[in-house]
């Protein structure tokens, strides 16, 4: 059972959704048969590369004063999942390089660790994910060889993979993230409650098993 997850590292619902899915997988009877693949999606693709703007400023500029209410509510729900979402220190950046690094991390088998590290760095540590050396350090902490990360960031490697992910999301009709696809058959949009994820996993597993004519146990 393969779950593909489209998300961005500056997307709070993606972080919350990740935790909720993890919680559901902790209850799912067949979690050992689940494979996770992280797919790229950029919420702010027009943000100039190499620049970092305080997220609180960025949101107020784009959405007006209600932005702070929005972040306050999201942060409160994040706390319920054990996450410290600090919008006062977070920096809005173009995440293309971060996604390229995530593809590299997946190729060397540490995709989930890298995803988690970048999310925490952005939301809790106020890290500048547009800074190549910051990305190299974070990739290294997730288990990626730093020289290899530096090499990828110096070029354009994996940019095609990022674009392909985004195009695939659009083909699936995704307009926002997180967006979950199970075995290219089932779509789940948004940071659903853990119980809903669990129910969806069980539904997908049962139907897939029945389709193959195998017992469900």
């Amino acid at each position: 059972m393969k779950i593909e997850i489209w998300s961005d590292v500056v997307c709070p619902w993606c972080y919350i959704g990740k935790r909720r899915l993890e919680h559901a997988l902790g209850e799912f009877e067949h979690a050992d048969q689940v494979e996770i693949a992280w797919r790229s999606f950029q919420l702010n693709p027009d943000t100039p590369a190499g620049t970092a703007v305080p997220t609180s400023e960025y949101l107020v500029r784009r959405f007006g004063p209600q932005a702070s209410q929005m972040t306050g509510r999201v942060a409160a729900l994040g706390r319920d999942e054990g996450l410290d979402l600090d919008f006062d220190t977070a920096l809005t950046v173009n995440t293309l390089d971060a996604h390229r690094l995530l593809h590299l991390a997946a190729d060397v088998g540490v995709g989930d660790a890298a995803k988690e590290r970048l999310l925490r760095a952005h939301f809790t540590e106020g890290a500048d994910l547009s800074d190549p050396e910051t990305l190299v350090r974070l990739a290294g902490e997730a288990g990626v060889e730093e020289d290899r990360a530096r090499e990828v960031l110096a070029g354009t490697e994996y940019a095609d993979a990022v674009r392909a992910d985004i195009e695939l999301a659009q083909a699936f009709g995704a307009t926002g993230v997180p967006f979950f696809v199970i075995d290219r058959k089932y779509g789940i949009s948004g940071a659903q409650p853990a119980e809903t994820f669990l129910q969806a996993l069980r539904t997908a597993y049962t139907e897939e098993t029945q389709d193959r004519g195998a017992p469900t146990r």
Binding site: H23, A37, F172, G176, T206
Partner: protein, 79 residues
């Protein structure tokens, strides 16, 4: 999980999807949609909280014991 339990779960999820009325935004017709229609997404940089979900989540959080909230599972394999 017994087959009966699995069937019940599947039915419940189906009902959830059916109750949603159709395909929620974010899912193409070729995918069968599972889950609630009003889940939280970030679109174009905006990450609003669906009012119904916020209320439900806050209520749920208030009912959960601290220990249960602290339990975290880890995610599965990489691609």
């Amino acid at each position: 999980m017994s087959k009966n339990q699995a069937d019940q779960s599947a039915t419940a999820a189906d009902q959830s999807a059916t109750a949603a009325g159709a395909v929620p935004s974010g899912a193409a017709p070729l995918l069968r949609t599972l889950g609630a229609p009003n889940a939280a997404v970030c679109t174009d940089g905006f990450c609003e909280v669906p009012p119904l979900q916020e209320a439900a989540q806050l209520q749920e959080a208030a009912q959960l014991p601290e220990a249960a909230r602290g339990q975290r599972a880890t995610m599965g394999a990489d691609k």
